[in-house]
């Protein structure tokens, strides 16, 4: 087992383990904190997949942005009576069975399919390449994203502001 593999397993376990804790922990703030580790683990996986830029974007946007927003959201919307923030769960048993099945199906599908698996010649640094793609193939998407963000910004802010005057 090479060092690469070790690190992969480490990150995989980190991701899945904390992912499990995210969905099962009773306290929603705990969930959010566990999500931090999941996201971090995923970022690690990205690095292993030679997507350094994406990994860092993951860190920056997910950990630095979405997670914080989620945390603030949690703190804002949850009525905390004493100590624990409990989130109710519904129909655990059917859900476990269902998702278990789903997982089985997907995993087996993934494994059965004969993916054309040949490590591509990815440039080691991807940022530059991504920049070129953005300015050529995806230039429209790029601008559209700006529009999307604008709309998201205005929309979210005005929804959040609504009748808060």
């Amino acid at each position: 087992m090479s060092i690469y593999d070790v690190i992969f397993y480490l990150f995989a376990i980190l991701t899945i383990g904390s992912g499990y804790l995210v969905v099962t922990s009773k306290n929603i703030v705990h969930s959010a904190f566990y999500l931090l580790f999941t996201l971090f683990g995923v970022a690690g996986l990205y690095v292993l997949l030679a997507a350094d830029f994406i990994a860092i974007v993951q860190l920056m946007v997910y950990v630095g942005g979405i997670l914080i927003l989620l945390l603030f959201g949690v703190m804002l919307t949850n009525k905390v009576t004493d100590v624990k923030i409990r989130t109710g769960t519904i129909h655990i048993i059917p859900a476990v069975i269902g998702t278990g099945l789903l997982m089985g199906v997907i995993v087996s599908m993934m494994l059965r399919t004969n993916w054309k698996s040949e490590p591509g010649e990815l440039p080691f640094t991807t940022t530059y390449g991504l920049g070129r793609i953005l300015l050529t193939d995806y230039v429209l998407v790029f601008e559209l994203l700006a529009m999307l963000l604008l709309i998201a910004l205005i929309g979210a802010a005005s929804i959040a502001r609504r009748d808060n005057e």
Binding site: I68, L130, L145, M147, L153, A157, A160
Partner: protein, 148 residues
């Protein structure tokens, strides 16, 4: 092979290891004498009233929200900043349009006052509101003082 990210990872592990070792070393030395009072939450020596885990100020949330959008924006700009010179003016224009669109969002937020932290005006104590009974004199106070 140790990639550059591998080094960073080692660095992270080292940092965590260091904290672990330091805390462990401290554990070997430090005393441990908890008492009931000691384990109370500190609040200037008073009894804690209510939990801090209450619903929080919406302002923090709005800040985080605006931040998130801008964060995403600058993230997208990084690849652009690296490469736009290659495309000359066209490349620049793409970025500037992107920027301007978001600048518009910013301007909108500014106008709408979402960038202000709190929208309530601080209340200036007005005597007529504080005093409940009929009050004839107050107006006169001012006038008379000015005269004298």
């Amino acid at each position: 092979m140790l990639t550059e990210f591998g080094k960073i990872f080692i660095f992270l592990l080292l940092a965590i290891g260091f904290v672990g070792i330091a805390l462990f070393a401290a554990k070997l030395i430090r005393p441990h004498r908890p008492t009931k009072e000691k384990l109370l939450i500190y609040e200037c020596g008073e009894n804690v009233e209510g939990s801090p885990w209450v619903k929080f100020n919406i302002r923090f949330y709005v800040v985080a929200l605006i931040f998130l959008i801008f964060d995403v924006e600058v993230v997208l700009l990084f690849p652009w900043a690296l490469t736009y010179q290659e495309f000359g003016f066209y490349g620049f224009l793409v970025g500037v349009i992107f920027l301007l669109i978001l600048g518009l969002g910013m301007a909108y937020e500014w106008r709408k006052g979402d960038l202000n932290w709190d929208r309530t005006k601080p209340n200036i104590p007005e005597l007529s509101k504080i005093l409940t009974n009929k009050n004839v004199s107050n107006v006169k106070i001012d006038e008379q003082i000015k005269e004298s």
